[in-house]
């Protein structure tokens, strides 16, 4: 039969089946016809649907043994469809459906089918999905499944599916022993919000060491294979930061309270209770910038006059009721502001990337990565992992090496140089925050470091003076509005086009924006929301070339007395 003829007769068939379905014909003949059609094209969802209708009907009229037979035949037919197209959505879906309805399912047969299929293509995700279903329903022991990943990884370790599957099995089989100290250690009181899952994705140390060895074998064998590196990063762990109030700041002049959290919260819905001198206060919590609902810093304004008298002392407590945590802050007589915060260590602040492991483990991992780097000085995965390990071990001590590695990364992987620049900026900011913490000052300065992005701005809640001159910044993002104490902002010699984040900063007095890319008056609009702005340096910006700029600026920013154009 020629190809064209086949086509013609197929469409005739199709038309027939369509009519039959409409007429509600649900007999075995229709089953036969759809089978014929599907065997030439298994990706025909409508026909599968029709088949399901027929099968469900047959279930009601046939004996159980007959039904079993019909479904077994269906499985055999599906096998032939999968041979035709092993990635057919329709066939796999239908197989799931059939397997679930089969009166006496033979799961071991299904498992061996999956194994056969995966041996032909170990990345067939349809098959992986189906297999997961089979394993779940038939209750295959976890240990056996881990052995299955062993086998797959052994035959080809460039396979995310196997590694990922492993990462879901290990915590079940070798859970972290409860007595081992963990940074996210919970207080003994019950905490319903902490589901057991968040804790149980960790693996006991003995097994971890074995996994390190396994994955090292993979990345030493082929350091360009990313699947092993991603698994490695999973192994090294991502700590969950404890949910807490990290800082409470109160300002007498503005009669404002700012609260910083360890993770972003929704200012509108977060359950906060402000108690002032023993009296709960009804206040409206809001985010620092209308652009985001979720923010790690929330602010509220106290009713006018509550704390404005400088001769009074006030005690303030902020309760985060759903997390059973709170923080106190005392505003003493004669003080215009006050705050209370943890003396944050680097551990708590920034090691969330790779933090769970003991230093000795990380140290030996760093050693083997360095060994690999010696052999493969230009391998980006190795470089990046080393950077992460160094950060986890001693971010300040390794600062120089880290920066050098970033330089290499940008050269060997120019496609992602912007990503590396941003990541590097993040680490520089983290290091500067740490240094600031140790020095206990409220001045933050990163100049001439090629910063491309700003982050961790919630850590800068108390900063009064920031100097970001001579970097590559293009904007001051909305998060910048978290700098509630900021008085002086220096960002000379950047590429700033956008000042969105300089928004309602109550104490901001000076903005130095020399040699940036501010081109329109509208871009300066956010500054109008800062009531105390006195001095503005706009020299070297395109906007200064505009006609009538001076008068328009005066109209826009009436508080500015010292305008440099």
């Amino acid at each position: 039969m020629s190809l064209q003829e086949t086509h013609a007769s197929q469409s005739m068939f199709l038309l027939d089946t369509h009519c039959q379905r409409k007429e509600g014909i649900l007999d075995e003949e229709a089953l036969q016809v759809t089978q014929q059609l599907l065997s030439s094209n298994p990706d025909f969802a409508t026909l599968w649907n029709y088949r399901r209708e027929i099968l469900m009907h047959l279930e009601t009229v046939k004996e159980k043994d007959e039904v079993q037979k019909i479904y077994e035949a269906e499985l055999a037919f599906l096998e032939s469809c999968l041979k035709l197209n092993p990635k057919s959505y329709g066939s796999w879906h239908h197989r799931c459906w059939v397997s679930a309805r089969l009166p006496r399912p033979d799961w071991s047969r299904e498992l061996s089918l999956c194994d056969r299929c995966l041996s032909l293509d170990d990345r067939n995700f349809h098959c992986w999905d189906y297999r997961r279903m089979v394993v779940k329903v038939s209750g295959v022991p976890v240990a056996q499944e881990l052995g299955f990943t062993d086998r797959l990884i052994g035959s080809n370790f460039s396979n995310y599916s196997s590694w990922h599957y492993r990462s879901t099995l290990l915590p079940l089989l070798h859970p972290e022993s409860p007595e081992s100290p963990s940074p996210s250690h919970e207080p003994p009181q019950p905490s319903p919000s902490h589901s057991p899952q968040t804790q149980s994705h960790r693996v006991c140390e003995e097994q971890l060491l074995k996994e390190y060895e396994l994955v090292q074998n993979a990345f030493f064998t082929d350091p360009n294979d990313q699947s092993a590196w991603f698994y490695y990063r999973w192994l090294l762990g991502r700590a969950e930061r404890e949910e807490m109030i990290s800082c409470v700041y109160v300002s007498r002049d503005e009669e404002r309270v700012a609260v910083a959290f360890s993770r972003p919260v929704n200012a509108q819905s977060v359950s906060l209770l402000l108690v002032l001198d023993g009296q709960p206060q009804k206040v409206e919590w809001k985010s620092v910038h209308p652009r985001f609902k979720h923010s790690p810093v929330c602010i509220c304004d106290l009713p006018p006059g509550t704390i404005s008298d400088i001769t009074n002392e006030h005690n303030l407590t902020v309760h985060w009721t759903e997390k059973y945590t709170h923080r106190d802050c005392a505003l003493y007589t004669g003080r215009t502001e006050s705050w209370c915060r943890d003396s944050a260590t680097d551990q708590e602040l920034f090691r969330s990337e790779l933090s769970v492991e003991k230093t000795s483990v990380l140290q030996s991992e760093l050693q083997s990565c360095n060994q690999l780097l010696e052999l493969e000085p230009l391998n980006k995965w190795c470089l990046l992992t080393i950077v992460l390990l160094m950060r986890a071990l001693d971010p300040l001590g390794y600062e120089k090496e880290t920066l050098a590695h970033f330089q290499t990364l940008k050269e060997v992987d120019p496609m992602r140089s912007a990503y590396y620049s941003d990541l590097c900026s993040k680490f520089i900011i983290e290091n500067t925050v740490l240094k600031m913490e140790y020095a206990e000052v409220r001045v933050f300065s990163i100049t001439d470091k090629n910063l491309t992005t700003l982050c961790h701005l919630d850590q800068l809640l108390l900063v009064t003076h920031i100097n970001l001159s001579s970097n590559q910044l293009q904007q001051l993002p909305p998060q910048f509005a978290m700098l509630q104490c900021l008085e002086v902002l220096e960002v000379d010699n950047n590429r700033i086009e956008n000042l969105e984040g300089v928004y309602h900063l109550p104490k901001l007095e000076e903005v130095l924006l020399k040699n940036n890319k501010i081109s329109a008056l509208a871009d300066l609009q956010p500054l109008a929301s800062c009531p105390k702005l006195r001095r503005l340096d706009l020299r070297g910006n395109p906007v200064t070339q505009a006609a009538n700029i001076e008068s328009e600026l005066t109209a826009l920013l009436p508080s500015v007395t010292d305008l440099l154009l």
Partner: protein, 608 residues
């Protein structure tokens, strides 16, 4: 034998059924040439043949007997004017020499006393008495007929490896063998080997097929592959510091290897990746030994050993160009069919020439075994071979004549190089592992100064070359002395034999044979004082792959038919499109492949 005369006219007459001859036969027949393919022997594939155990015993016996001088018959009466006769040399029986056989297992069927409760021991005994001890002329005959059956029915047998007949007799034996294996290993007796002899397929040559070598390419291209089945060599081993170790060569092997440190893994992978392409560094070493280059890479002893002996499989003084080429050949073949670069045909290498013969027959080639050519009829003016005269005095005209080198023997380049071969039947693997069905390629560097590098192939029963409970081990090297002198030291090191009684933990040798074969590589295709349309196929070469034989066959084919395509794909019976309205009439090509095939095979058999 049929007294019927052969047709008296062919395009190509080929004498000898070794691999290159068979490939030439298939290639010529495939493009429409009339081919007559003869072999004086009673079996196919000449020195490329595989034998049952009993067949091998008769083969040995035949070579141990003194060759009877053949009287030269005068066929000058068949000549026309302007023609002369050129006699072929007597087949050179010296192509096999220094045959030595050892049997280290008890000749008696000692299992009888211990296992009298086993099923039908009496029947076993009866069979033994028949074929045991002295392989008579009878068993010789038997073996050869069996062999012919294999040629004809190769496909059927492979499709259903357990035929009814086998199930009757072999299943009980199989279970006996296994039950014997459990308590002690040394239970398989000589009698058992003989009794189960037909389940062995013992190759005279020992080669492996590179997955991207020219033989595999040709099998695929020509569709001859459908006549055979293959198994992957599952691991590469090497003998080092008195131990057999696995050589990690694929990415998965390197990953899984327990003997390499992670740094070694990286160095090995990097070296293997870097040598795929010619670099300036390689050029800087031009002409210097590959080993020197490896040393300078600071790879360490482990890796250097693996790279030199197991992957490149070269010697310490091989120049870098050759070493790199060998390494690349190895690496290119890796991963095509499995974790090693090699394939092995089920039922032995002797299958391969037969597959090509079969292709030749399917396209009309005529086959006669035990049939030879005595002399050539040469036109004096043109110095071309016009016809051949067979050993029965029939004049058969032909345009081209292809002959195996043993008929041209004497005049060939003076001192012929030899290969040393040993075939062992052992009771265990040299490196036991989880699976007892491993096919291993073992490289053995010189055991001492002036000893050659030995290549060892260990075949498991699932390759259909030996019986359950045994392994078939082939050793090959270029001769320095006799086969026994060259290979016995390796055998005593790797196995438990009466000469190495202390190695109880090594597999025992049950039976073995040593012999030398002529290394035919280097024999010229043409010349030898022969007419210009006569081509000589050299015999075996010492390399592991089949590149030499296939290249030679292609060269000969191109000289015969310079305009024609070499082994174009044969039509697949399933691909033939029938006319929808008239399905009962098979297309012409189907005839050739289906019913016609049987007919032709019958024809070729009657000719014998």
């Amino acid at each position: 034998m049929a007294a019927e005369e052969l047709p008296s006219e062919f395009d190509v007459v080929i004498l000898g059924t070794g691999l290159p001859e068979s490939v030439v036969a298939a290639a010529c027949s495939r493009v429409g040439q009339r081919v007559l393919h003869l072999d004086r022997r009673s079996y196919y594939a000449a020195n490329w043949a595989s034998f049952t155990f009993n067949g091998l015993l008769s083969w040995i016996q035949q070579y141990q007997e003194e060759p009877q001088p053949k009287e030269v018959q005068d066929w000058s009466s068949l000549l026309d004017e302007g023609e002369e006769l050129v006699y072929l040399s007597n087949p050179d029986s010296a192509s096999i020499s220094n045959l030595q056989v050892f049997c280290f297992t008890s000749e008696e069927d000692e299992e009888e006393a211990q296992s009298s409760d086993l099923p039908n021991p009496t029947e076993e005994k009866a069979v033994n008495e028949d074929t045991d001890v002295k392989p008579s002329a009878d068993s010789n005959e038997e073996a050869t007929t069996e062999k012919q059956e294999t040629v004809g029915g190769a496909e059927e047998e492979q499709v259903t490896p357990t035929e009814g007949e086998e199930q009757d007799t072999d299943k009980p034996h199989l279970s006996t063998a296994q039950s014997q294996l459990e308590p002690t290993r040394k239970r398989i007796t000589y009698a058992h080997l003989v009794k189960e002899g037909r389940r062995f397929n013992i190759d005279l040559v020992s080669k492996l097929m590179y997955s991207r070598g020219s033989l595999v390419d040709l099998l695929i291209k020509s569709n001859v592959s459908r006549y055979a089945e293959f198994k992957n060599v599952t691991r590469i081993l090497t003998y080092r510091n008195g131990n057999v170790e696995q050589v990690p060569c694929s990415r998965a092997d390197v990953f899984a290897s327990r003997q390499l440190s992670v740094v070694e893994k990286r160095k090995l992978m990097r070296f293997l990746t870097s040598c795929m392409e010619e670099t300036e560094e390689h050029q800087a070493y031009s002409g210097r030994p590959y080993l020197e280059f490896l040393c300078d890479q600071k790879l360490g002893d482990n890796l250097q050993h693996f790279l030199l002996h197991s992957i490149a499989m070269v010697t310490e003084d091989t120049p870098i160009e050759e070493g790199l080429a060998a390494t690349r050949h190895f690496l290119r073949s890796l991963g095509r069919y499995g974790n090693t670069p090699f394939l092995f045909p089920l039922y032995g290498l002797g299958e391969i020439p037969q597959c090509f013969c079969r292709m030749c027959a399917v396209f009309g080639g005529i086959y006669c075994l035990r049939h030879s050519v005595d002399c050539l009829v040469v036109d004096k003016d043109t110095n071309r071979c016009k016809a051949v005269i067979d050993n029965r005095g029939q004049r058969i005209s032909c345009s081209h004549f292809v002959v195996e080198d043993s008929y041209v023997g004497k005049k060939a380049a003076a001192p012929r190089r030899l290969l040393s071969r040993a075939v062992l039947i052992t009771d265990g693997s040299v490196l036991p592992s989880d699976s007892d069905q491993q096919v291993s390629m073992v490289t053995i560097p010189p055991v001492a100064a002036r000893y050659p590098v030995v290549k060892m192939v260990e075949l498991c029963p699932s390759t259909m070359t030996c019986i359950p409970g045994t392994y078939l081990v082939h050793l090959t090297c270029q001769s320095a002395g006799s086969a026994y002198e060259d290979l016995a030291p390796v055998v005593t090191r790797c196995f438990h034999t009466p000469d190495s009684p202390d190695q109880e933990n090594r597999p025992s040798v049950l039976w073995c044979v040593y012999f030398n074969m002529v290394d035919g590589s280097g024999v010229e295709l043409e010349g030898h004082g022969l007419p210009s349309n006569v081509y000589v196929c050299s015999g075996l070469d010492s390399t592991l792959g089949h590149e030499y034989a296939i290249r030679q066959a292609e060269l000969i084919f191109q000289k015969i038919l310079p305009e024609e395509d070499f082994c174009p794909p044969a039509p697949n019976p399933e691909d033939i499109i029938y006319d929808g309205e008239n399905p009962s009439t098979p297309a012409g090509e189907e005839d050739e492949d289906g019913a016609g095939e049987e007919g032709k095979r019958e024809q070729s058999q009657t000719q014998e």
